[in-house]
């Protein structure tokens, strides 16, 4: 079969053929494929948000998260087997991190789920590497001029997520409540978490 025919083939038939060959050669069993598909579908920004909230309320976990994101994700019950290593970038009063993949759309799927459409867009990928403050302004995010922006271009083997700063006004909140204010865009770095519950109406 030529490449063109493979590209035009019915995807369900192609999947059945490839998974059949993989099983026949003992490389990957149908059960393993089903498990991986379920694990991929389960992943959502809620996983990353729970890790962020735990880091905000447990300094020991925060230190482990920054040292080895993969191990910290596993500690939070997320299956990292076969996933690229996870790096975690800490926002501080001096530095604000923004993640982009200019070459394709590398994204920390294990902890954030499927990448949003805008993360994969050529506009986001091209502009973030050159004009991050302009991109952030489009999101309504203003980072003070004396805070350095660090754009992390995810070009190779790592996947990166941002550990945002805990917003003021959330003192005494439970980890569960804190997790509710952390969005995917906060963990990519185009926004910062609001100090208000998602259900609360904006004032």
């Amino acid at each position: 079969m030529t490449l063109a025919k493979v590209l035009e083939a019915d995807s369900a038939k192609l999947f059945a053929a490839v998974s059949g060959i993989l099983a026949e050669r003992g490389l990957v069993s149908p059960q393993e494929i089903v498990e991986r598909m379920a694990s991929t579908d389960r992943a959502s920004p809620a996983l990353g948000a729970a890790m962020v909230a735990r880091a905000w309320t447990d300094p020991g976990y925060a230190a482990r998260l920054l040292k080895d994101g993969t191990a910290a994700a596993e500690e939070a019950g997320i299956m990292m087997l076969g996933m690229p290593p996870l790096g975690v970038l800490e926002n501080t009063p001096d530095t604000h991190n923004v993640v982009v993949c200019t070459l394709c759309s590398c994204y920390p799927r294990a902890v954030l789920g499927y990448p949003p459409f805008w993360f994969k867009s050529t506009a986001y990928r091209a502009r973030t590497a050159r004009d991050p403050r302009g991109v952030l302004a489009d999101w309504g995010t203003t980072i003070p001029a004396d805070v350095r922006i660090r754009v992390v271009d995810s070009t190779a083997d790592y996947r990166w997520m941002v550990l945002p700063m805990r917003p003021a006004g959330t003192e005494g909140w439970s980890a569960e409540r804190l997790a509710g204010i952390v969005r995917a865009s906060d963990m990519i770095g185009v926004t910062v978490p609001p100090a208000q519950d998602a259900s609360a109406s904006p004032s």
Partner: protein
């Protein structure tokens, strides 16, 4: 090659895609640019080898930081950090 944290490096000004088919993870905008090693991220099989079904060479991967003013004419005090494999990096000796 082992590059220590904080040492100045230059990304090679090479354009292998002009010669033939390649799978290259070094973005064009950092080629020939001067940066600084942030840290060694680990050793990984060369994606260029994997893409062409060659037995992969293990490459050291580094996080390298570039000031925006090194990359773009309009510049700024912000910085950009990229994962770069060691065979693309040359250590520099700056005064």
């Amino acid at each position: 090659m082992t590059l220590a944290d904080g040492i100045p490096v230059r990304v090679k000004d090479e354009w292998p895609e002009a010669v033939g088919p390649v799978h290259c993870r070094t973005p064009h905008y950092i080629r020939g640019k001067h940066g600084m090693v942030v840290r060694h991220l680990g050793d990984f099989p060369d994606p260029g080898d994997i893409a062409f079904e060659r037995e992969p060479v293990m490459r050291s991967l580094y996080h390298v930081a570039f000031p925006f003013r090194e990359l773009w004419p309009e510049g700024s005090d912000d910085e950009l950090v990229v994962e770069v494999y060691d065979h693309w990096l040359e250590p520099e000796h700056r005064a």
